[in-house]
C-alpha cells in the first residue's frame, strides 16, 4: 500500500513539494489522529499537506505580522485540528472502503431481521419457539430472503420478465433512479474534499429544477437547442444557488452548514410560492403542478421508450469523469484539496482560499443542478413541490458511502438506486413496507460513522490496527 502512494506523490503538482519534504519528521506525531488504517486510499497529498500544515503552522506563529491578513476569518474555517470535530467528520467521510462494504452488509442483515420481526409466520412460529425452533428459524430465513430476493428482482434482474428486455428492465430502472443520486452525491463529495460540508444539494436541485422546468415549458424552441438550454439553465441555477453560499462563507465566514440548511428552506418555499402563481400552473387549473415540458426539452430515452433510462445517465458518467479529473489532475482540484486539508496552510502557500471556496461550491451546485435537470427533463417532466424528492439528503449518504471519491460515489449512487428501484418490487411482491429501505439506508450511515463498531462485529481487532498505524507513519517518514 505504501508503495502505491509513491508514484502518485511524484505526480502531484509542484507547490506542495518544497514545503513538504522538510516537514516530514515533525508531522509524525500529528498523524496518529488518522487512525483508520485504510485511510491510505485517501491520496498521498493529504498526508503531505498535513505535514506541510504542521510546518507552516509553526512558521505562522513566528512570522508575526509579516503574513497578509486572512480574508477568511480563520476561526470559521474547518482546519484539520487533530482530534477536533472536523477531523472526526473527515474520518467519517473518507473512511475505508472495506468499512463501507461491511456497513452495507451489516445494515442488510439487520434490515432482514427487521423484516422478519414484522412477518406473520415468524410471530406465529415464535409462539412455539421452544417446542420446535426449526419452524421459527426457517420462517425468519424465508421472510428475510423473500423480501431481499424481491428487492434483487426489482433492482437488477427479473427472471419473470418477458424476454431479455423485460428481464433487464429493473436494471434500467436502477440506473434511472441512480442518475440524480450520482450527480448530487458528486456535488456533496467534491465540496467535502474542499472541507465544506454541503447539505444544500436539496435546495440546489430545487432551484435548478425551477429554472430548467420554466425554460422547458415556457419557451418553445427547436430540437436540440431547447434541451441544451434546459440543461444550461438548470446547471447555472444550481451553481448560482450554491455559489452564493460559497460567497457568503468566503466573505463573512458564515458556516456553510447553517447557510445550506437555510437555503434549502428558502428554495422549497420559493418553489411552493411559484407553484401558486398562474405562470407556473397549467392553464385553467389551480393545482400546484406545472405544465408538462415540451417534447423538445426532455432528455431522449437512450434505450427506447420501454425504459425510463435517459440521456442524463450518460451525463452522470461524464460528470463522474469530470470530477475525477478535477480532483486528481487539475491545479484547481489540487487547490480544493489543499484548502480542505488546511485552509490556513493553503493561504500561506499562496492559494486564494475565498476563490476556491466560491468555486468549489459553484461546481458542487452545478452537479446538484444536473440532478434537478435529470428530474424535470428526465423522469417527471413536470415541476411539483416534490421535484427534489429526498435526493439532496440521500446524496449526503451516497457521498459518505462513496468516501467522497468520484467513482466511490458513482458506485454508492448505483447501490442506492438499486435499493429504491427494488423497494417498489419488494413492496408489491411481499408487502414489505417501502420504509425498510430507508431503515437500511440509515443503518448504513450509522455504521459508516462508527467504524470501530463494524470492525468489532466482524472481529477485526482495532487495537492491532492502531499499533500498526503508527508503524505505518514511521515507515512513511522513512520512505520519504
Amino acid at each position: 500500500m505504501t508503495e502505491s502512494r509513491q508514484p502518485r506523490h511524484a505526480a502531484e503538482p509542484d507547490p506542495a513539494e518544497t514545503p513538504a519534504t522538510p516537514a516530514e519528521t515533525p508531522a509524525t506525531p500529528a498523524t496518529p489522529g488518522n487512525e483508520t488504517p485504510a485511510t491510505q486510499t485517501q491520496d498521498a497529498a493529504d498526508a503531505e499537506l498535513q505535514a506541510a500544515d504542521a510546518a507552516t503552522a509553526t512558521s505562522l506563529d513566528t512570522a508575526g505580522g509579516a503574513m497578509r491578513p486572512s480574508a477568511v476569518p480563520v476561526s470559521g474555517q474547518s482546519g484539520t485540528v487533530p482530534g477536533g470535530p472536523d477531523s472526526l467528520m473527515r474520518k467519517i467521510f473518507t473512511g475505508s472502503g472495506m468499512v463501507s462494504v461491511l456497513a452495507v452488509l451489516l445494515a442488510l442483515i439487520l434490515g432482514g431481521l427487521l423484516i422478519a420481526s414484522t412477518d406473520k409466520a415468524v410471530s406465529t412460529s415464535a409462539g412455539y419457539l421452544f417446542a420446535r425452533p426449526s419452524d421459527f428459524f426457517s420462517a425468519v430465513w424465508s421472510a428475510a430472503t423473500r423480501s431481499y430476493v424481491a428487492l434483487f428482482q426489482g433492482a437488477v434482474f427479473n427472471p419473470r420478465g418477458s424476454g431479455a428486455a423485460g428481464q433487464f428492465a429493473p436494471l434500467m430502472e436502477t440506473l434511472t433512479i441512480a442518475t440524480p443520486l450520482i450527480t448530487a452525491g458528486l456535488g456533496v463529495a467534491l465540496a467535502f474534499r474542499a472541507g465544506l460540508f454541503n447539505i444544500g444539494a436539496q435546495g440546489q436541485i430545487i432551484m435548478s429544477g425551477i429554472l430548467a422546468a420554466w425554460v422547458g415549458f415556457a419557451l418553445h424552441l427547436p430540437v436540440g437547442l431547447h434541451l441544451l438550454l434546459v440543461l444550461v439553465a438548470g446547471v447555472v441555477g444550481g451553481a448560482l444557488w450554491a455559489g452564493l453560499v460559497g460567497f457568503l462563507k468566503a466573505r463573512t465566514g458564515a458556516h456553510e452548514v447553517i447557510l445550506t440548511i437555510m437555503f434549502n428552506y428558502i428554495a422549497l418555499y420559493f418553489l411552493r410560492y411559484l407553484l401558486n402563481t398562474p405562470a407556473f400552473q397549467r392553464p385553467g387549473e389551480t393545482n400546484p403542478i406545472s405544465p408538462i415540458l415540451d417534447p423538445n426539452a426532455v432528455y431522449p430515452q437512450i434505450l427506447g421508450s420501454q425504459y425510463r433510462l435517459h440521456l442524463g445517465f450518460l451525463l452522470a458518467i461524464a460528470a463522474t469523469v469530470f470530477v475525477w479529473w478535477v480532483l486528481n489532475r487539475s491545479t484547481i482540484g489540487f487547490e480544493f484539496r489543499a484548502v480542505g486539508a488546511n485552509p490556513k496552510a493553503a493561504l500561506t502557500a499562496g492559494i486564494n482560499v475565498p476563490r476556491a471556496t466560491i468555486l468549489v461550491m459553484a461546481i458542487a451546485g452545478a452537479l446538484a443542478g444536473m440532478s434537478g435537470v435529470a428530474q424535470v427533463a428526465g423522469t417527471e417532466k413536470v415541476l411539483t413541490d416534490g421535484v427534489a424528492a429526498t435526493y439532496g439528503f440521500d446524496a449526503i449518504t451516497v457521498a459518505l458511502l462513496g468516501r467522497s471519491t468520484p467513482w466511490g460515489t458513482f458506485a454508492a449512487g448505483l447501490l442506492f438506486g438499486a435499493f429504491r428501484a427494488g423497494a417498489v418490487q419488494m413492496q408489491i411482491q411481499t408487502g414489505t413496507p417501502i420504509d425498510i429501505v430507508l431503515v437500511v439506508q440509515s443503518l448504513i450511515v450509522l455504521f459508516i460513522a462508527a467504524p470501530p463498531l463494524v470492525r468489532a462485529v466482524f472481529g477485526l481487532n482495532p487495537r492491532k490496527k492502531k499499533a500498526t498505524t503508527s508503524k505505518k507513519a514511521a515507515t512513511t517518514g522513512a520512505a520519504a
Binding site: M1, T2, P37, A38, G97, M98, V101, L102, V104, L105, L108, T145, R146, Y148, V149, A150, F152, Q153, P159, R160, E173, I177, Y269, R272, N276, G284, T286, N287, P288, I289, I292, R308, Q375, T379, E380, K381, V382, T384, G386, V387, A389, T390, A421, A423, V424, Q427, I428, Q429, T430, P433, I434, L438, F458, L460, K464, K465, T468, K471, K472, T475
Partner: protein, 369 residues
C-alpha cells in the same frame, strides 16, 4: 512489518468480499421461492382492485388513508383481491403504476392530482385496464379513467352556517395546510356559510384565516407540523375567535391542542374537523368537537370497485355532493345540546336546498362537472 500489515488488510477485505459474495449467492440461489407464490396469485381469475398512494402514504390521516380503507372494506365485503403500493416520492408514481398493471389489477385507484399525468399515461397505454383517480378530474375525459371528486364546499357551507350560529364571540376561524384547491374548497364553503348566516340573520360574524374574494388566507405550509397548527389557533383565539376549522390533515391536531388548553383556561371554544368524523378519528378532542366536514372517500372507492366488478364501469366522474351523501356534515355527538333546535332545522333546510339545487354553493375549486 509492512508486509504483515498488508496481509492483515488483505485478509480483512477478502473476508468482507467473501461474505458479500456469499450473501449475493444466497439471494440469487433462492430466486425460485417467491416466483411460485406470486404466479399462483396471478393465475387466480378473481377480480383484483389495486391502489397507489401519493407521497403521503396510507397512514396520512387524509385521503390516502380513507381511500385505502375503502378498498380494504371492498376486499372484505366483496371478496376481491387487493394489491397496494405506497409512493415515497413523485418519482415512484410511474414504476408503481406500471407494476400494478403488470400485477394484473382490474381497477387501479390512484390518489391525488400529482398522479394525474402518470395515471393518464398508463391508462392510454393499457386501454383494457380500468383506473379511478381521487380528487382530480381531467379536462378531456379518458375512456378508462373514472375521476372521484367532491363538491366539498357544500358540506363546508353547512359547517360555516353552524359555526356562525353557535359562536359566542361573533368571530370564527379557519386555516389550511397548503394552498391547493382541495383545501381551499373547504375554506370557500365555510366562508360562504358564514356569509349566508349574516345575510339571513342580519348579523356580522367575522371569518378569520380566509378571504374568499382575494382567495388568500392562512396556511401552515405543510400537512405535518402540528406545532404550527397550534400557533395559528392561538393567534386566532387572541383575535377573538372561538370556533376553528383546520383544513390541514394531522396539523389539525395542533389546533385541537390549542383549543383544549383554552378550554382548560375557562374559554368556551369549539373545533370543526375535516375529511372524516373527528369524533371517531380524533377522539382526544371529543369534548370540543362541534362537527366535521366529511368526504366519504372510502364509500366512493368501494362503490366504484363494486360497479367495475359488476361490469358497470363508466368514465363519468363520481362527484360527491350533499345529494348523494358523498360529502356530509357529521353528527354533533357530545356537543348536541349546545346546538339550538332552531339552528338544526335551519341546517336541515339548507342541506335540502343545496341538494335540490335551490341554493347554489360556488367555489373556484369546485369540480367542473
Amino acid at each position: 512489518m509492512k508486509n504483515s500489515l498488508r496481509a492483515t488488510f488483505k485478509r480483512g477485505s477478502m473476508a468482507g468480499v467473501a461474505t458479500a459474495g456469499a450473501a449475493a449467492l444466497l439471494l440469487t440461489g433462492c430466486g425460485a421461492a417467491p416466483t411460485a407464490s406470486s404466479s399462483a396469485s396471478a393465475t387466480a381469475s378473481d377480480y383484483t382492485g389495486c391502489i397507489v398512494s401519493d407521497s403521503g402514504g396510507f397512514d396520512d390521516q387524509s385521503f390516502n388513508q380513507s381511500s385505502y380503507e375503502g378498498l380494504k372494506k371492498a376486499e372484505k365485503d366483496l371478496g376481491i383481491k387487493v394489491n397496494q403500493v405506497e409512493s415515497k416520492t413523485n418519482n415512484d408514481f410511474e414504476p408503481n403504476l406500471r407494476a400494478m398493471v403488470t400485477a394484473g389489477c382490474d381497477l387501479t385507484v390512484t390518489v391525488g392530482f400529482l398522479l394525474g399525468d402518470a395515471t393518464k399515461a398508463q391508462a392510454t397505454a393499457n386501454p383494457d385496464k380500468h383506473f379511478a383517480i381521487i380528487d382530480f378530474g381531467y379536462d378531456k375525459p379518458i375512456a378508462n379513467v373514472k375521476p372521484i371528486i367532491y363538491d366539498t364546499a357544500q358540506a363546508a357551507f353547512l359547517a360555516g352556517y353552524l359555526a356562525a350560529g353557535t359562536t359566542k364571540t361573533g368571530t370564527v376561524a379557519t386555516f389550511g395546510g397548503i394552498k391547493i384547491p382541495t383545501v381551499t374548497i373547504f375554506m370557500d364553503g365555510y366562508a360562504d356559510g358564514v356569509k349566508y348566516y349574516n345575510e339571513k340573520k342580519g348579523k356580522n360574524v367575522k371569518v378569520l384565516g380566509w378571504d374568499k374574494a382575494k382567495q388568500d388566507g392562512s396556511f401552515t405550509g405543510d400537512f405535518e407540523k402540528q406545532d404550527k397548527g397550534k400557533q395559528f389557533t392561538q393567534n386566532f383565539l387572541d383575535q377573538g375567535a372561538d370556533i376553528v376549522m383546520p383544513v390541514a390533515g394531522p396539523v389539525g391536531k395542533g389546533a385541537g391542542a390549542a383549543l383544549k388548553e383554552a378550554k382548560a383556561a375557562g374559554k368556551d371554544v369549539k373545533l370543526i374537523w375535516v375529511d372524516s368524523d373527528g369524533f371517531l378519528t380524533a377522539p382526544d378532542y371529543k369534548d370540543i368537537m362541534l362537527s366535521s366536514v366529511m368526504k366519504q372517500m372510502g364509500e366512493a372507492v368501494e362503490t366504484v370497485v363494486k360497479e367495475d366488478k359488476d361490469g358497470k364501469f363508466t368514465n363519468a366522474p363520481y362527484v360527491g355532493t350533499l345529494a348523494n351523501d358523498g360529502v356530509q356534515l357529521a353528527p354533533f355527538h357530545d356537543l348536541d345540546s349546545q346546538v339550538p333546535a332552531e339552528l338544526k332545522s335551519e341546517l336541515d333546510q339548507i342541506k335540502k336546498d343545496i341538494a335540490d339545487g335551490k341554493l347554489k354553493v360556488e367555489s373556484a375549486a369546485s369540480p367542473k362537472a
